[in-house]
Symmetry: C2
Subunit: 313 residues, 2 copies
C-alpha cells in the first residue's frame, strides 16, 4: 500500500491509497505551521502511522509515502527551498520523514500531485497528457506529460497562474503585473464583483449580501449569473474570457489531450464548463485542428492524498 | 548521410548533413508556391539529388530525408493540413516525397527543426531541454524536451508567438488580441518606431531614413539605440520588456535549461542579449532559484537544413 500526505497551510491529511485510487483510513490534523518544521513533520509521520492502523494494516504493508506540499522541492538536494504557506526555508523534508518512517518518501507540489491523481484515476485517466488548472484563491496548476508529472529543468515549471496575460495589468503578489491569477482566481472574481457592487449598490449581487460587500464571494457572482442577473452575467462572462485566455496559452505551449478545471470555482460545474468551452473555438490558433478537451476535475479535495500516494522517483 | 530540406515561402534549400552537423553540397531554388504542390515537391526531390551528387555521394548513401516546413504536419495521417505561406491544404508531403526518392521522409515545423539543430550541434547542445524563440517578422518557436522535439498531443504545441501577453491589446492576424508576436516581433518594433517617428519627425530614427518612415526597420531602431538616442533607447527598452514577458511565460510553463534568441532581431547580438537578461531576475516567479539561461542561437539560416536532417520518427 502507498500512503499519501496532503499538507496545506491549515490542515494536513493522510490516507492509505489502494491500486484503484481509493482512500482508506483517512486522518487529518491542524498543520499549525508556526511551529518548528520538525514538529510539523512529526505530525505527518504520526498521521501516516494512524492511517495505516486505521486501515487495519501495519507499516510492513507500506511501500512508500508521498507528500504534496504548497511549494516545490529541489529534487537534486531533497530540500524544500521555501514554502510560503508553511513559513519553510531550506527544509530537508524528504530525509527527515523517511528517517522517521523508515520508508521511501517522495515530495512534490500539491497542484502537480492533484493533476497526477486526476490523470491516473480521475477525469483525465487514459490521456497521454493533461493539465489541471485549479481555480481557487489563486490559480495553480499541474502538468502531466507522457503520464508523468512535468517538473521542468529547475523544478519551477507549471507556475501557470503566473503566466502574464496582461502586461501592465493588475498587480500580482509575485511582483509582476497582469498574471493569470489576477484575473482568473476566485479572489479576482470576488474583487471585480465588490467593485461593481459599490458602483451599483442596488444590484442583485449587493442585495444577496444585504449590502455587506465584504461578504461577496466568487459563488455569489456565479449564483447571480445563474439567476440571469445582467451585472453578474457580465462579470461572469469577462471572468470566463480571462480563463479562456490562459487556456489558449496552455494549448499554445503544452497542447495537452485534456485541460481540467479544478479548485473552488469549478464547483460551479456545467455552468462554468459550458461557458469556458463556448468561446475557445474562435480563440485557438489552429481553428481547423483538434485541441485539448476541457473537462471538470472529479476527485475534489481527495486528489491531494491520492496523487501524493502515486509519487515515485 | 542524412539530408535536410528547408522550405520557405521564397526559397527552398537542401544539403547533406554529416554527423557533426556540417552541411555539404548546399543547393537551393525558388519555392514559387503558386504552382501545384506536386511541382514544389518535385523541386525538393531534385534538390535532394543535386545535393547528394554535389557532395560526391550517391542516393545509396542516404539514410533519410527531413523537411522543415512553415506549418505543421498531422503526423497520424502524414499530411500537411494547411500551410499559409505555401498555399497548401491537405498535402500528403511525406508520402509523395518518399515515393519520389524511395527514402524515409520526416516532416516537421521549421522553427521546431531549427530548435532541434541548435539543441544537437548549436547553442543549446548538451542541454536536456531548450526553447528557441525566433524574433523575425513574427515570433516563432521550437521546443525540445528530453532531447526530442515537443509536439504536444495534437501537433499544435509551441505556437509560442501566439501566447496572449496582453488580452485586449494589439490585434493579431490570428484573430486574437495581444499575442506575443504583436509586441516582440521585428514587425512590431518597426511599427512602434514608425509611430514615434511620425510624432517626432526630427528624431534620430526619422533622420536615419531621411524622413522616409516606411524605410524604418527593427535594425534602424536598434542601431539608433546603440548610438544612445533617447527615443530609440526607450523603444528598445519597451521592446525588450515585451520579450521578457514572453520569456517569463516560457519559464513558467516549460522551465527549460536554455532559452535561445534567434531570428533576424537576434543579429543585434550581445546588445540584445544583455538587455533581455538584465530585467529577468526581478520578473521570474522563484527569485532565489536558478532558471533558464538566455543565449543567442548560433546556427543562423543553416539551422533549417541541419535540423531537418536530424528528424526521425
Amino acid at each position: 500500500m502507498r500512503i499519501g500526505v496532503d499538507v496545506g497551510g491549515m490542515t494536513t491529511k493522510a490516507g492509505c491509497v489502494d491500486e484503484y485510487g481509493k482512500i482508506h483510513g483517512k486522518v487529518s490534523c491542524q498543520t499549525n505551521p508556526k511551529r518548528h518544521y520538525e514538529e510539523v513533520i512529526k505530525d505527518m509521520a504520526f498521521l501516516v502511522r494512524s492511517s495505516v492502523s486505521e486501515s487495519g494494516l501495519t507499516m510492513d504493508d507500506v511501500e512508500s509515502v508521498g507528500v504534496g506540499i504548497p511549494g516545490i522541492e529541489d529534487r537534486s538536494r531533497g530540500v524544500v527551498p521555501f514554502c510560503t504557506n508553511l513559513n519553510w526555508h531550506e527544509v530537508p523534508l524528504r530525509g527527515i520523514l523517511s528517517g522517521m518512517l523508515d520508508k521511501p518518501v517522495f515530495v512534490n507540489n500539491d497542484a502537480t500531485v492533484a493533476a497526477l491523481a486526476e490523470h491516473k484515476v480521475g477525469a483525465s485517466a487514459g490521456a497521454a497528457s493533461s493539465v489541471l488548472v485549479t481555480l481557487g484563491t489563486g490559480v495553480g496548476g499541474g502538468v502531466i506529460l507522457d503520464g508523468k508529472p512535468f517538473m521542468g529543468s529547475h523544478g519551477v515549471a507549471t507556475e501557470i497562474g503566473h503566466m502574464i496575460i496582461k502586461f501592465g495589468g493588475i498587480e500580482c503578489s509575485c511582483g509582476n503585473k497582469g498574471c493569470w491569477e489576477c484575473y482568473a482566481s476566485a479572489r479576482a472574481l470576488m474583487s471585480f464583483a465588490r467593485e461593481k457592487a459599490e458602483m451599483f449598490p442596488d444590484c442583485m449581487i449587493a442585495r444577496e449580501v444585504s449590502g455587506r460587500f465584504e461578504d461577496i464571494t466568487a459563488k455569489t457572482v456565479i449564483d447571480c449569473a445563474k439567476a440571469s442577473d445582467p451585472i453578474a452575467m457580465r462579470l461572469f462572462s469577462d471572468y470566463v474570457y480571462y480563463i479562456d485566455v490562459g487556456i489558449v496559452n496552455l494549448i499554445n505551449t503544452y497542447d495537452p489531450d485534456i485541460i481540467l478545471l479544478g479548485g473552488g470555482v469549478s464547483h460551479a460545474g456545467k455552468f462554468l464548463l459550458d461557458a469556458v468551452r463556448e468561446r475557445l473555438p474562435e480563440m485557438v490558433f489552429f481553428k481547423k485542428m483538434d485541441y485539448a478537451r476541457i473537462e471538470l476535475a472529479t476527485l475534489g479535495n481527495d486528489a491531494g492524498i491520492i496523487g501524493a500516494s502515486m509519487l515515485e522517483d
